[in-house]
Amino acid sequence: MTTYDDRASLTDLTTTAERVRRSVEGVIEGKPEVVRLSLTVLLAEGHLLIEDVPGVGKTMLAKALARSIDCSVRRIQFTPDLLPSDITGVSIFDQQRRDFEFKPGAIFAQIVIGDEINRASPKTQSALLESMEERQVTIDGHTYELPDPFMVVATQNPVEMEGTYPLPEAQRDRFMARVSIGYPSAEAELQMLDVHGGASPLDDLQPVAHAHDIVKLIDAVRTVHVAESVKRYAVELVAATRRHADLRLGASPRATLHLLRAAKASAALAGRDYALPDDVQALAVAVLAHRLLPTAQAQLNRRTAEQVVLDILQRVPVPTSGGAAASAQPVPGGPVYGRQPGARRL
């Protein structure tokens, strides 16, 4: 139930988020939806995978996001010779104290930028598994908590395949959303030439929010109401991926969780204290597509996972009952979307 305090923090949330968004958009121009998605993932306690061709600003986005928030930031350049211990940290024997001393790795930061994540070996990539999901690192039997908030923003290049190791399914599943930046429009590119011609805009970027603020915002997002019907909708969307003929592997229950969390964050960003099916729909491709494995036949037919998700969105009916008040009394005329020609046509 929404309380007065929640509402107040929701207002804070929108204003803070707006500040961060403007700050990032000062660097990444013409891509508001990408920026918004990044923020959504941040507020939903997820990790972001930025996948795109080189040079479109993947790293720039990650850095801009990190710099806009006053928090600890680490950057890991994934290379083939990167070791897991480089990421998680290592215990070194301190001869003076005659004890093992833990040297934290690059993962111990509030925002971790993993650049070109697919260039590291799967062994190294796997080092991220525990930290990303459980927000902790276990070395030599010792478990070290990661700071709060904690977000991994990884980039990868889908085109260049030589010397790369595609992320394993388990790893991909831990990213809440995958986003592609895409090429900027001609105007945006022109403007970029002017702005980036002199100095890097990142240099001028000042933090606009503190890590504490972000933690409070994340708490506020948790209070966003999700109607039973919306939850069911998310479940049905995910379930549909498991049944779809074009998919070898559907989305996991974690995907459902991520989808709902992202939807909550999206609703909070829009200033609402309740999530809508619209939020779920808007995030479905970003949250689900990178977890899906198309069948060989679908690949031959050039059906991408994104298309499959869009297809599912057009097939699964939006729930129109189960609201707090709507369910109290039957309404004359039957359900709105009981059986519709549009749904059958698709």
Binding site: M1, T2, H225, A227, S229, V230, R272, D273, Y274, A275, L276, P277, D278, Q281, L313, Q314, R315, V316, P317, V318, P319, T320, S321, G322, G323, A324, A325, A326, A328, Q329, P330, V331, P332, G333, G334, V336, Y337, G338, R339, Q340, P341, G342, A343, L346
Partner: protein
């Protein structure tokens, strides 16, 4: 002209040309113009509907509707709603007309008078056939099949006109059909594109018009030749084959000679029905009368005269009818010397006694009766027209009591040759025994009168005949022979035999059918019952006219003038006043009995129970039929409007769904309004998509419906409210959904075209929900039923697990 229009014109022409075959059936021919006009309306409606590219079934429905409306206007305008719409009264009127038309068809010989009933049958039939031809040839483009209804029309005409409607009509009908085929062939060819006319064209000239229809095309010409040759063969071959009677060119056929034309009557074989009446267990009253006749025992009431003798039975000839004159003409052959007194009689027929001939004393001179009656002068009978029957009739008759003396009869001159020829005709198949017996019985008689009296005496007394109403009637020429041999029978046999024998003796004779005088009541009236039904011979004597004889023993009264020893002025002591009648009547008359049958058509009496049931309902069509017709037409008319009515009801329910003030009520209102908006949009062509969220659905309605300003805002407002209701923890925000819905509806209507608006109102797409609801209900019932069955029948459940496991 487009191919379809030409085809429609040809279909019209073909129907009209075939309808020409119906012309000889009726006296007048102006009805064909009416039919042509109505058919043109029907075809025009069809052409318009096709031009608007309506669904075929819709086209046919529209044409049917147009036909119904035009028929209503043409035949039942005064009974129609607003002069056009076929309400219950109009349908009843049409049904009555059809029934009387069917009666008239049975009653009148060809050519029949153009009564309203017959006209409705003719024009309605032509329209029906026209509709079938138009639907087949134009709407469904199967011109060849359209030959079937045309053939049916021609066959009806040919069949009714007794063996051939004349070759001219056949050629016309054939030409019409060929025309239709050619038009269709041409249309089909032209749709292939440009067709080359062939090499026979003048060099340099265009082979065909740019649209392929400008000139006669070679294939069309070939088709034309084939058609002409086929028609020629059809005409020529039957003429050449001796086995096929004459063929179409073989003269006019027997049908032409039947009547001398115009408003004639035919039918009635009273033999069987009379016997039925005589064998009734109760003597049901058919009429009562009061008369000032001096000799009530001779007061026979006559229905009709049977004047055609086929050897086996007597029938009435087909004769011309005319309107009832104020005073009926002088009876044929009645001379001035014969003593005549005029008597007046008031007759009141029972309501249950319904037949088409008015019982009259012979010869009536003046009849004062209400209703549509027509007069047949030869038999001096009155015939009901347009469904008129005697049921409940009250009328006053002046008639002549002709009292010739035996001497006058004996002195009668020779009959006029025409009359003598007609009324002494006996078929060659008549057994010789009849003539021989007649000659034997009348041996030694000096004149016709004596012969007649001897015949009568022979039947009544000397011949040893026995009156028995249970004798098998029998038909055919053998019947009379058997009667003469076995000497058992009832009035029909006696009268038939005597009339036949009189004819063989050269005395003009016919058989009259009617009633014996009946039973005098205490109040001075006379009651006539069914058992008084009777038949008697009438013999013609020049100077006296048609004279009644009474050969049936123990029935009726022997006329005084047939008793030569007694002067006619004497009261006459044979004193058999009302033999049969006085013996019988005991039970009270029952009004439910009907179809007394003497004067009825054979077909009508065949099902004597059916009219009996309907009698109490009044004249005309049985009430059940009328109700069915009315209900049927109502269903046909309202069925297409059911979606509209359902939609209106749904809208009213949704917009007034609840007036409560609780949050749940408000939510219900919002949801109902949203439903109404999506359905209204659907009616205007924006099909709902259940994968769309309310927000997106609203945007889609605004985009596709071309909504602007307040209407667009209203859609978004309601969608927002729906979001709150469905997904928010607490629905908030005050909206007035009903007003918003109205706003949206107005917006959608104003941005839609006229046709779309009409369709959204009359045939709303969202009405398909009714079908869905019904199918869901059925499925639910089915599953519930199967559950019940499964519970009741363990065997059924035992079989299931395998499927469940599978």
């Amino acid at each position: 002209m487009s191919g379809r229009t030409r085809l429609a014109l040809c279909a019209f022409a073909a129907t009209m040309m075939t309808a020409g075959a119906l012309l000889p059936l009726v006296e007048t021919s102006t009805w064909l113009l009416r039919a042509a006009f109505l058919l043109a309306v029907q075809s025009g409606v069809g052409a318009l509907a096709r031009r608007m590219r309506l669904a075929r079934i819709l086209t046919v429905s529209l044409q049917t509707l147009a036909t119904l409306l035009t028929l209503t206007v043409a035949f039942a305008r005064e009974h129609a709603l607003f002069g056009v719409l076929p309400g219950p009264q109009a349908v009843q009127r049409l049904a009555v007309l059809l029934t009387t038309g069917a009666d008239d068809v049975g009653r009148y010989a060809i050519p029949a008078p153009a009564t309203d009933g017959i006209l409705l049958m003719l024009i309605g039939g032509v329209l029906l056939v026209g509709l079938a031809v138009d639907v087949l040839a134009v709407t469904f483009r199967a011109a060849a099949a359209a030959g079937l209804p045309l053939l049916a029309l021609y066959s009806v005409a040919a069949g009714l006109s007794d063996g051939g409607a004349g070759w001219l009509w056949f050629v016309l009908a054939g030409c019409g059909y060929l025309l239709l085929l050619l038009a269709e062939g041409r249309d089909r060819l032209s749709r292939w594109g440009r067709v080359f006319g062939g090499a026979s064209r003048a060099p340099g000239g265009p082979a065909a018009g740019p649209d392929g229809s400008g000139h006669a095309l070679a294939p069309v010409r070939t088709g034309r030749r084939i058609g002409v040759v086929a028609l020629g063969i059809a005409l020529a071959v039957p003429a050449a084959l001796p086995a096929l009677d004459g063929g179409l060119l073989g003269g006019t056929g027997p049908g032409q000679g039947g009547g001398s034309g115009g408003g004639t009557i035919s039918a009635v074989n009273p033999l069987v029905s009379l016997q039925n009446n005589l064998n009734q267990p109760e003597n049901r009253e058919v009429m009562t009368y009061r008369t000032n006749s001096a000799s009530p025992e001779g007061f026979y009431l006559r229905i009709l005269a049977l004047d055609q003798f086929s050897g086996g039975e007597w029938r009435p000839s087909t004769r011309r009818l005319r309107d009832v004159p104020d005073r009926l003409p002088q009876p044929a052959g009645l001379g001035p010397d014969v003593a005549v007194t005029e008597i007046r009689t008031n007759i009141s027929a029972s309501r249950s006694y319904r037949q088409t001939y008015l019982p009259l004393p012979y010869p009536a001179s003046e009849v004062d009766v209400r209703g549509r009656w027509r007069y047949e002068p030869e038999g001096r009978t009155l015939v009901g027209d347009d469904g008129q029957t005697t049921g409940g009739a009250r009328y006053e008759v002046s008639s002549l009591a002709v009292e010739p003396t035996a001497a006058q009869l004996a002195a009668s001159a020779a009959s006029p040759p025409d009359l003598a020829r007609e009324y002494t005709r006996v078929p060659p198949s008549l057994p010789d025994v009849v003539e021989k017996t007649a000659a034997q019985v009348t041996e030694g008689a000096a004149d016709d009168y004596e012969r007649a009296v001897k015949l009568q005496d022979w039947f009544t007394t000397e011949g040893g005949f026995r009156y028995d109403t249970t004798v098998t009637s029998g038909t055919g020429t053998a019947a009379i022979e058997r009667f003469l041999k076995e000497r058992e029978g009832f009035c029909v046999h006696f009268s038939f035999a005597m009339a036949a024998m009189a004819r063989t003796l050269g005395i003009p004779a016919r058989v009259a059918v009617g009633f014996t005088p009946g039973t005098a009541q205490a109040d001075g009236s006379v009651s006539v019952g069914l058992r008084d039904a009777h038949a008697w011979p009438e013999l013609y004597f020049e100077g006296v006219g048609w004279t009644r004889f009474e050969p049936t023993p123990s029935r009726g009264s022997t006329p005084a003038y047939t008793l030569p020893d007694v002067p006619s002025q004497d009261p006459g002591d044979p004193a058999l006043p009302t033999d049969g009648a006085s013996a019988a009547p005991t039970a009270a008359p029952s009004a439910s009995e009907s179809c007394p049958a003497q004067g009825r058509q054979p077909g009508e009496c065949g099902a004597s129970t059916a009219p009996g049931v309907a009698d109490s309902a009044g004249p005309g069509t049985p009430a059940g039929t009328v109700v069915l017709w009315v209900l049927g037409s109502l269903v046909v008319l309202t069925l297409p409007l059911v979606p509209m009515f359902w939609r209106m009801r749904a809208r009213a329910r949704r917009l007034g769904s609840s007036k409560g003030r609780t949050a749940a009520d408000a939510a219900a209102r919002v949801m109902a309004a949203w439903r109404e908006i999506t359905d209204t949009a659907w009616d205007h062509g924006i099909a709902p998509d259940d994968s769309q969220t309310p927000r997106r659905a609203a945007a889609r309605v605004v985009r596709l419906g071309g909504l602007e300003g307040p209407a667009a805002a209203a859609v978004h407002r309601v969608a927002g409210a729906v979001e709150q209701v469905l997904y928010a923890p607490e629905p908030g925000g005050a909206v007035a959904p009903a007003e918003d819905v109205r706003e949206v509806r107005e917006g959608l209507r104003s941005s839609a075209g006229r046709w779309d608006r009409l369709r959204a109102t009359l045939a709303p797409r969202s009405a398909v929900r009714v079908i869905w609801a019904v199918s869901e209900r059925l499925a639910e019932l089915g599953s519930r039923w199967s559950r019940v069955v499964g519970r009741v029948r363990p065997a059924g459940r035992l079989r299931r697990p395998s499927r469940q496991r599978g």
